[in-house]
Symmetry: C2
Subunit: 281 residues, 2 copies
């Protein structure tokens, strides 16, 4: 059960063209092996998540926040379904960030994000996140460059506060090639059960691929902190993407090492009460 | 793949002592068969849920709300984990209602419930619900009988409005015997990984078993409407409980018959745009 240390982005400048989108770092097997390895993660993920949840019910502040970023069709939804779906849904809180509402626009860009943070003991998942506020807004010049510049630091500061408050932040960028995106968009146009996922605007956004890459590269470099590092997950192969995020999640939970809470009551006395009771009817 | 029509509570007075807690209505197999049948539900549940979700993204108001009620240890959590856990977590919104907060207490009893209703396209799940406001409050006389009396009608009116707004309300009471509860409480006291689930107050509540049964019986009779009927699920056998709720969920989604939305764009024109584009780099 290898860990996924190769996916952790090293410090320094980032050139996404040098990071393969179809590789399978830290994993030797093929697709069938990968699916099996993902299924095998289920028990350990469930155990770790339940321990974290139990801790949260017993006064611990700890929680985990998985942040998923990536271009359209990079597979954020697939990770939610196949990887996050392995965990007991009682302990998971997913939030998908869309274009900000009028109300959200009137607030600081972190306002809506802070309202959706997971509670103690939970695994929170952000499908897109505060990182959109240094990506799409930069590509389309919706915000002046100085403001974007200031946001990298604000994000780092925010994530530092989260960490200080017991939140482990696991950041994954799902990395696909433009060819893979094209295939997936065509697949949506070829399958009536996928029409609803298609938006003509997605093709317009493809026209800005180079700008998005540049925005991602700067963002990755500037927010790749020791306390909340980025992981770049090759995502052309769906099975590898799902497995890699699953193992990163497992590694993060292992690192937290959550423990079953001890009893805050007298176990023998409670057993005796049950033994002595008048049987309910 | 039989439906679970026997679980639907017939109209009229309810005597829970006449409904077996360890039976397996509408199912012939044993535990292994039941677990297999539950796993087999996964694909159909996923397909139906995704259709509902797709509809919701395309303007439909429809949604489903699963309401789970039952005594402590009746297995609400187990249903969430094993049955609701079969569905893509992106399309599910679970809310566990605890003792009301000070803020919640200052509002109408339905206030907190209305704030947690699922959005269009979602499967919402209430782990406990507005029904606590005619159960525990009645058992402990926290609310005068006349108020409790008025709440049955308010609940029926509320659920009628939900239905009119496109929400299918699926109500399940998980029905266990006091002996099964005793076994499960003892199991929590015997297993350090389960201490966190144990609360000494649970044993105190057992002392009110008869009062709870009476409160459930009245509640079931008074809120068992045509539009939002109750299902009483024998829950002494965990595997049957999980399967039964899964099939009820499947039946409810089948009844909604959600359809893939048609394309609101010109499919061929979009394909052409992808074919004609300058390849992104």
């Amino acid at each position: 059960m290898g860990s996924m240390s190769l996916l952790r982005l090293p410090p320094g400048p980032v050139d996404l063209t040098t990071i393969p989108t179809d590789a399978t770092p830290d994993f030797d097997g093929d697709k069938a092996d990968g699916k099996e390895a993902l299924a095998e993660l289920g028990d350990e993920l469930s155990d770790l998540q339940e321990r974290l949840f139990a801790e949260g019910r017993s006064g611990s502040h700890r929680r985990l926040l998985l942040v998923l970023q990536g271009m359209d069709t990079s597979g954020k939804g697939g990770v939610l379904r196949h990887t996050v779906g392995l965990i007991d849904p009682q302990g998971v809180r997913i939030h998908s960030f869309k274009a900000p509402t009028e109300e959200e626009k009137q607030h600081h860009f972190l306002w809506r994000v802070k309202r959706k943070l997971p509670e103690a003991g939970y695994v929170g998942v952000f499908d897109r996140s505060h990182y959109e506020d240094v990506l799409i807004v930069r590509v389309h010049d919706w915000v002046d460059p100085r403001t974007v510049e200031s946001r990298y630091e604000q994000i780092n500061e925010f994530e530092k506060e989260l960490a200080a408050d017991g939140t482990v932040v696991l950041k994954c960028m799902l990395h696909i090639s433009p060819d893979t995106q094209k295939e997936r968009l065509l697949a949506r146009l070829d399958d009536p059960t996928k029409y609803w996922k298609f938006n003509p605007g997605d093709i317009d956004e493809r026209g800005h691929w180079g700008d998005y890459r540049a925005a991602y590269e700067t963002m990755l470099e500037r927010t790749n902190t020791e306390i909340a590092p980025w992981h770049v997950v090759p995502a052309d192969r769906k099975w590898y993407r799902n497995l890699a995020v699953g193992r990163l999640l497992r590694d993060a939970l292992r690192g937290m090492n959550p423990q079953w809470p001890t009893a805050d009551f007298d176990i023998d006395a409670e057993k005796q009460r049950l033994a002595d009771e008048v049987p309910p009817a």
